[in-house]
């Protein structure tokens, strides 16, 4: 067991856990942040996606000790009701979620992607950016639409609400 510190969603946290415990399990079990999900557990599906220093990564393959002192953002950190992010609002408005298991990971990936660009992305660009996130329900059409909607809203109302 080791005492490991992180900054999760803007808050400093200290967790006592084995250093080889996957970060995803620390987030879910030790910190009660259950938005990030485990699905494949080997970096193929993206359900566990979180941001470390604004880069999207699979939290199931980062060990707790490797994430020490890192700045981590989960879907809860992107936005929580009633203060949802424009991406989350767009996913609701476009109906871009069905069972919801993959949604937090996709929101986090979309957040990293949209923060890095300043235009409304093409379908191709979105497919590349979200290539690491699988959804077995929606067929992706509405997800892609929601990301485009979010991008156009971000451009038309820059930083007013947030």
């Amino acid at each position: 067991m080791k005492s490991i510190q992180f900054i999760v969603n803007g808050k400093e946290c200290t967790v006592l856990c084995p250093p080889a415990k996957p970060l995803l399990d620390v987030l879910r079990e030790d910190l009660g942040l259950t938005a990030s999900k485990e699905c494949c557990g080997k970096g193929e599906c993206g359900s566990c996606s979180v941001l470390i220093k604004n880069e999207v990564v699979c939290s199931c393959l980062i060990l707790a000790g490797q994430a020490e002192n890192q700045v981590i953002t989960t879907c809860e950190g992107v936005g929580l009701s009633p203060n949802l992010d424009v991406i989350q609002e767009s996913f609701i408005a476009e109906g871009a979620t069905q069972c919801g298991y993959c949604t937090p990971g996709i929101i986090v990936s979309a957040k990293a992607f949209l923060d890095g660009i300043d235009h409304v992305p093409s379908v191709g660009e979105i497919k590349t950016a979200l290539g690491g996130n699988l959804c077995r329900c929606t067929g992706y059409t509405k997800i892609i639409k929601a990301v485009q909607t979010a991008a156009s809203q971000k451009i038309s109302e820059p930083e007013t609400i947030r």
Binding site: A20, G46, V57, C58, L63, Q66, G132
Partner: protein, 291 residues
Amino acid sequence: MLVSEIDMITPSSLPECLMQLSKEGRIHRLIAGGTDAAVRMKEGKWRPEIWINIKNLHELRYIEESEDCIYIGPLTTHTDIIHSPLLQRKADVLVDAAREVGATQMQNMGTIGGNIGTASPAGDTLPALYVLGARLELTSLSTKRIIPIEEFILGPGRTVLKENEMITKILIKPQKPNEIGIFQKLGPRKAQSISIVNVAISLTLDQDLKCREGKIAFGSVAPTIIRARKCESMLPLGTLNDELIRNIAKIAWKEVMPITDGRATATYRRDMASALLERGLYRLIRRWNNH
């Protein structure tokens, strides 16, 4: 050994890391991006007593050029490679290959040193490194050696790396202005897939599409990456027209030595190796004409 029993050491410098690697009487392993190491830990294949965590050893994460050589730190991520203007200009085939690794998450986490050390026959950056004439610096506490990547990889997952050594530098030859490369991959889907066949091509071209010299390396069609020497020897035979390209692609069918496994049959791999090379050469010429 349970996952909960594994300890972790995070060295703060390369010398400290080499010191840890040289310690005997315990089972330890390096872990960087974790895209292979953490998966193997979960599968029960790798359960060291201690992980030597080098994920944030920033002194090994760089891309530099000096005196006709490009130096890449082993902890450089695939994303770093994709965004490097230097590599885009002088190692286009490596940038191409890094783009085909997994998807965004894997590109952000995975490192080039890890891709080399894992020595998978399907590793996407490896054929690109073969055609760029990559050499690797292997360092231990008391030794340092530089060897070509062809001599580093012995077979699937097997390398000449000793227990106390690690890859500390990747050296590649920068492409000249008349050199152009491309990486082509066939997987079950576009993102997040393991290559069924992949190929890296690098050509030195004259104005009239005559190839002065070329290198071709295939992945996933043999126990290690292989150079297609017969195909390479045909490249300078004339202008790269339809006839020559098709003939070279035919030779590729014979030159690769694939096996049948869960991902594809040997025959399918031969057909696809030939098709990917043909497609790659056509796309390369189109890219050359457009630039």
